[in-house]
Symmetry: C2
């Protein structure tokens, strides 16, 4: 038994005008709850310090950059790091990263129990579009404000386990889990902001969106025999609803804990890393069963090429 008690720290909405200090106070309150609940590790959602700003079309780069963090920790987040160290709780949190070279990433970090950053991931599967799209019910401009991550899908040793991270839309891509599965991942930490309605299809509402989220996370967990902790930012941000759907999924793909609100809420589950062993040794023993000679399109061909040569 290698148990890690995980707290999935779902956030309710963050309005555009809400300052980082107020948000960090909410994060710290959840961290104190996590301490009381015996958590070893707390996971916050994607872009957890601000509203989901990619819904807003901005042309002034200074206005854009104001949503980004130039270092981590920084003045605004230091109280969170300090409290985590005090409690001896490891953290994973998402934020918009502006590098010294001026590069923009949608980033998540992982700390150890001493508050030291031991891992970083930069979101690879950016959804949405780069220019204003008048056809959409609302904008989703991640392809405008971020570049795709440049760190691959790294796996880190932390607290005696192999941990990786994914961000939001990454969870729908089996390649993302598999890259980590091939590094022996045992615990995937994932945060998301998902609009409750598809901006291009008003008929795809909260229930279908929740189903797609659960389905993707459960399949990623099962097919790689790993725990997945998937944490939402939820509720209505300046009139735009974000879907809830915080879940903790075991290595069988079973949802073992689920958020019940659209507000700040801590979902706790003890995750035994040894529960990953059976799947990794039997049906998903990659070494015995994978046939990479038949997977060449996956890593060499980006888009669709039909047998008749047509593309899409």
């Amino acid at each position: 038994m290698r148990e890690i008690v995980v707290g999935a720290a779902q956030l309710g909405p963050i309005q555009r005008a809400e300052p980082r200090a107020a948000v960090v106070a909410r994060l710290v309150a959840l961290l104190d709850q996590a301490k009381a609940a015996g958590c070893d590790l707390v996971v916050y959602p994607e872009l957890c310090l601000t509203t989901f700003f990619p819904r807003w079309f901005m042309e002034d780069q200074a206005e854009v950059d104001a949503w980004f963090e130039r270092e981590m920790p920084n003045a605004a987040t230091q109280p969170l790091f300090d409290r985590a160290r005090e409690h001896g709780i490891a953290l994973s949190l998402g934020y918009a990263e502006l590098t010294p070279e001026g590069r923009h990433f949608n980033t998540q970090i992982l700390t150890d129990r001493a508050g030291r950053i031991v891992g970083k991931y930069r979101k690879i599967h950016l959804p949405g579009h780069p220019e204003f799209d008048p056809e959409r019910a609302f904008q989703h401009l991640e392809k405008r404000y971020f570049e795709p991550g440049d760190l691959g899908f790294p796996v880190f040793r932390n607290m005696g386990a192999w941990m990786g991270m994914l961000i939001c839309n990454d969870r729908r891509w089996p390649e993302a889990y598999r890259e980590m599965g091939l590094q022996g991942v045992e615990l995937v930490l994932l945060g998301f902001n998902t609009p409750s309605v598809n901006s291009q299809n008003a008929g795809e509402g909260p229930e279908m969106r929740r189903f797609h989220s659960d389905l993707s996370v459960q399949a990623g967990a099962y097919q790689n025999a790993t725990w997945v902790v998937s944490v939402a930012k939820a509720g209505v941000e300046d009139g735009h609803p974000l879907n809830a759907g915080t879940v903790i999924v075991d290595p069988n793909g079973v949802i073992v804990a689920r958020g019940e609100t659209e507000a700040d809420e801590l979902v706790v589950h003890p995750c035994d890393m040894d529960a990953t062993v059976f799947g990794k040794a039997t049906i998903f023993d990659f070494k015995r069963h994978r046939r990479i000679e038949h997977y060449t399109r996956i890593a060499s061909q980006t888009g669709v090429i039909r047998p008749d040569g047509t593309e899409r």
Copy 2:
């Protein structure tokens, strides 16, 4: 609207002593039902002409080869092909293939409405083990009797749609769906024989096995915006229970039709190929969203290599 009415022709058990002629008569009866139901295409399960013989340990190669077909159609299956041509119904069926060169494959074929074979797939992800395993509750010797398929994951044009095939354990491997998704697949035809209890874990019973099957098929459908028709052989074969779980899944990953028995049963659904368009053009528009530079492990590394260099 490009509608294909699909009949998923689940089979109940086939006992070891049951001759092929008796099985083919059952297949023909299902085909007649399919005609009455207005089907355009009927899909039968994996190894649909015999019992699931890989549960039996055999050392005499002649005894093994008796379970294989040396040509298709052959004398036993010609009545099925004749009836299909009469009805104008396309077929997909699985069988054990022995080639003129003496190679053994777990194979599935696809015909057009005129009964001509237009596609062949040979199972790539063979589960189980090559030698007698005294630790198991029962044997699963696919790695003994078959070699892995050598045709990749081909996609075929048939009846105005792009169709591919998978067999049983293939359905748990996202690489399999993705290879076909990258060729624009719209309809995946899949047959399986899945023991109701895990031979290495008596605690993993029919409900969990059904859940894993549904989860894998639904994720494969959603993440590639394709229809999947997944057809069971079910019921107790010579004392060995096979799990039911025939489903037809739409390109949103939703189960739209489901078998209700463990016997011969036709599950019918009209599948609109144009329902695949939205997903392929938006969230799973591979050309815009996939990042193959970060997928290199998938096609170059078979087993797990952890960041510290240890393997499994």
